[in-house]
């Protein structure tokens, strides 16, 4: 089945027997209260078969399909992060310490390396340079900058974690793996700057000790609010 729900739930003791029962699709449907009429109604509004669902909205940048699409998706996120930390380094927030300056500059360089890596790897298939919109961020305030940094880093981690299963080529999967752990190191550092000890607290890590994985659709919705360029991921792989 496609569209795997990528957030794995904990297997609680005593529930295992229930999991092992195969639930047929028919039972599953009837449990949802969807009869044959409902099926007909849903099927009649299907647009995928005639390709209508895959048309790029006017003025949007199509990330593309397959692994190229996922690489462009990553390239878009790295562009966003690199632009943000470049701005942070150019106009440091008030009261920034020497240590913070050094490590936030490191992060900027890492994001620039990621951005340039994807640009070069994608070559002619790369999406254009994106226009960012940071008008809602007060770069003079530590709290505002770090809160945005935290949001970007946690989002980046969840984006790569969610993208892993969408990648076909083993080498690209490994590259994504090499990058995501660096984003996680950033996320933990930024979180600790905001509140020491929050590097992996229960606002981000679940009861299985696991990080989050988000779908491109969810990630793009959040990323879009920081961009004037319009991204479209309608051709990205779903599984």
């Amino acid at each position: 089945m496609k569209n795997d729900s990528i957030r794995l739930q904990p297997a609680l003791p005593g529930e295992e027997a229930a999991f092992n029962k195969t639930v047929s699709r028919k039972k599953f449907l009837s449990a949802l209260g969807i009869g044959s009429l409902g099926i007909a109604a849903i099927a009649s509004c299907n647009k995928d078969d005639d390709g209508m669902g895959n048309r790029v909205p006017p003025g949007s940048i199509d990330l593309g399909k397959g692994d190229t699409g996922i690489l462009n998706y990553a390239y878009a996120l790295e562009q966003l992060e690199a632009a943000f930390y470049t701005k942070v380094a150019q106009s440091p927030y008030s009261g920034i310490t020497a240590a913070e300056t050094a490590l936030l500059t490191d992060i900027r360089d890492h994001e620039v390396a990621h951005r340039e890596f994807f640009k070069k790897a994608l070559g002619a298939a790369a999406i254009p340079a994106l226009n960012v919109n940071f008008s809602g961020i007060d770069f003079s305030k530590r709290d505002a900058v770090l809160a945005t940094a935290k949001a970007f880093e946690d989002l980046g981690v969840s984006a790569y974690n969610g993208a892993g299963a969408l990648i076909d080529d083993k080498n690209y999967l490994l590259l994504a793996g090499k990058i995501v752990s660096v984003e996680a190191r950033h996320a933990a550092y930024i979180r600790d700057l905001i509140s020491n000890g929050s590097f992996a607290d229960n606002t981000i890590i679940d009861a299985n000790g696991m990080d989050q994985a988000k779908t491109p659709a969810d990630v793009l919705m959040i990323a879009q609010s920081f961009l004037t360029s319009k991204l479209w991921g309608g051709n990205l792989p779903k599984s």
Partner: protein, 273 residues
Amino acid sequence: MNLYQLFSNMEKIDPDIYGRIDSRRKAIRNFAGIGGKLALAAVPLALGGLLNKAYSQSAPADITGVLQYALTLEYLEAEFYTKAVASGIIPGGAPTGALTTIRDHENQHVAFLTAVIKQLGATPVSKPTFDFTAGGHFATVFSNYDVLLAVAQTFEDTGVRAYKGQAGVLMSNNTVLTAALNIHSVEARHASHIRQMRRARTNDATIKPWITGKNPGGIDDDAVQKSYNGEELTTQAGIDLTGFVSANAASESFDEPLTYDQVIAIVQPFIKQ
């Protein structure tokens, strides 16, 4: 009737439908699916190849094998942090809080991997007997806080590299792959925090939340060095990153995998049997 199309449409109408109703069942069904196949062939082989009843002699070639290997590493970390928190040498407040958080995650990883391996129809490997002094090499691991943090950092950075090295083997099952990725990034968060703790204690600005070159961060030790060798790459997929950033930043911006054999060589001294 095109059931596949139907499910796809239902998901468009209610995008969260699987999340609310079916995610757990489906996840487990995926595991059960592979378990059935593995039970016929791969599992007996994997179990038959155990060394010291802890891990197999050869690199895992299938999902169960990778999970058993991961479980062994999580056992190591879980017991290490359990003993660390109980050692009485961790300062109260933030340091004890952080190591307790990490301990709990490692225990959760053990519980999760154990449950998944069982769902696959295999028997989870049993916990080895550990020697965290590594035969006396780290004799003061639970009496010297700095040694304890150095070992912790080595375990975390090694764990990140170990999971990364197995991603390719897990590609055939998206649910397992995603779970492993979700553990992998948590280990990286741990590594980042332990490195910050070491940086704060030593005032050594070369110890960063990320790995610079193949520098272990002020730990001068041949055994530890093995966990960092190979991290110094500045070229990825044929692209030289020093054209864009410094060599240090280039090496920091990508973490590198370790093979099964490399990881076993690193953890072997900590395993008595």
